[in-house]
Subunit: 168 residues, 2 copies
């Protein structure tokens, strides 16, 4: 059996999923996620923002003009929790909340210039790391990386993810 836990039988690769193999994957996820958030965290710290602010900025940038309800669904938190974060972002002039034209109950969220700038700084820090990791691991690895991650999501999360991945 090869080191990566694969073997070939009858031209078809089979997976021998030992608990050991799985544990390595679990620990890799744990440590990698720390790396994944480390760079933005450092930037946010200086501004007295947290990861929650980053997430909000990310998805507002991603889907400009989305409603509060949509953002709640994507983030998977309560409206009270989001509101605290969103209020500071609006007060600080990073996010603009516009009343819906069709449905005036809705608030549509947009990044201001200032918000766009911070989002860019945060995501660029994150991209630098991802880019380096992708380069190190190579194209095949990258494809596999995404495949496993997508297979690991809950169904409802995958729905959200695919909507974003393939365009809204």
């Amino acid at each position: 059996m090869a080191d990566n836990g694969t073997s070939v039988a009858g031209g078809e690769a089979l997976l021998f999923l030992t608990d050991e193999q799985l544990r390595k994957g679990i620990e890799a996820m744990f440590f990698a996620y720390r790396g994944f958030t480390a760079d933005p965290d450092r930037i946010l710290e200086k501004l007295a923002y947290g990861r929650a602010h980053h997430r909000a900025l990310h998805f507002i940038h991603r889907q400009s003009g989305l409603t509060v309800n949509t953002l709640l669904a994507v983030l998977g938190v309560t409206k009270q929790s989001l509101n605290r974060v969103l209020r500071t972002l609006i007060d600080d002039g990073l996010v603009e909340s516009r009343i819906g034209r069709r449905d005036k109950r809705e608030r549509h969220l947009y990044l201001t210039e200032k918000g766009t700038a911070l989002e860019r700084e945060l995501s660029e820090a994150q991209r630098v790391r991802m880019r380096a990791a992708y380069r190190t691991a190579g194209p095949q690895a990258v494809a596999g990386f995404r495949q496993v991650l997508e297979a690991m999501m809950d169904l409802d999360m995958r729905r959200q993810y695919l909507m974003l991945r393939d365009g809204v």
Copy 2:
């Protein structure tokens, strides 16, 4: 260019890392991590424990007899923060703290039978999901998954991870 962002030039595959590609990876990480923690979280909730307890149990199981200091380094939290968690685990009879034989200042941590049982339940829930994801994605994807994750870690985290990965 292929859909996965790769192309072949002169027999060597090159990576075209558009911001779009990177963003998909970033969002995949975000949603996948939620899935990754979802199953243990549900189990922990019933017992009034949190993710912090799970992490402690995991690494004590992983490296039985490790000292408090070692655990602190792996988890990357302060001793006050760990202590709160550790104390409840010890009080509840999931973890045993034995005074070091060589160095009596040290406390070596072990899972009790009860602790082992809970750790198994938690990690099995996590393994079920990982196993399913691995099976769906296939062996090549799994190798790539781990490669990218490892390349994404901070240097000091990778040190910790490799020590655990390759045996202590």
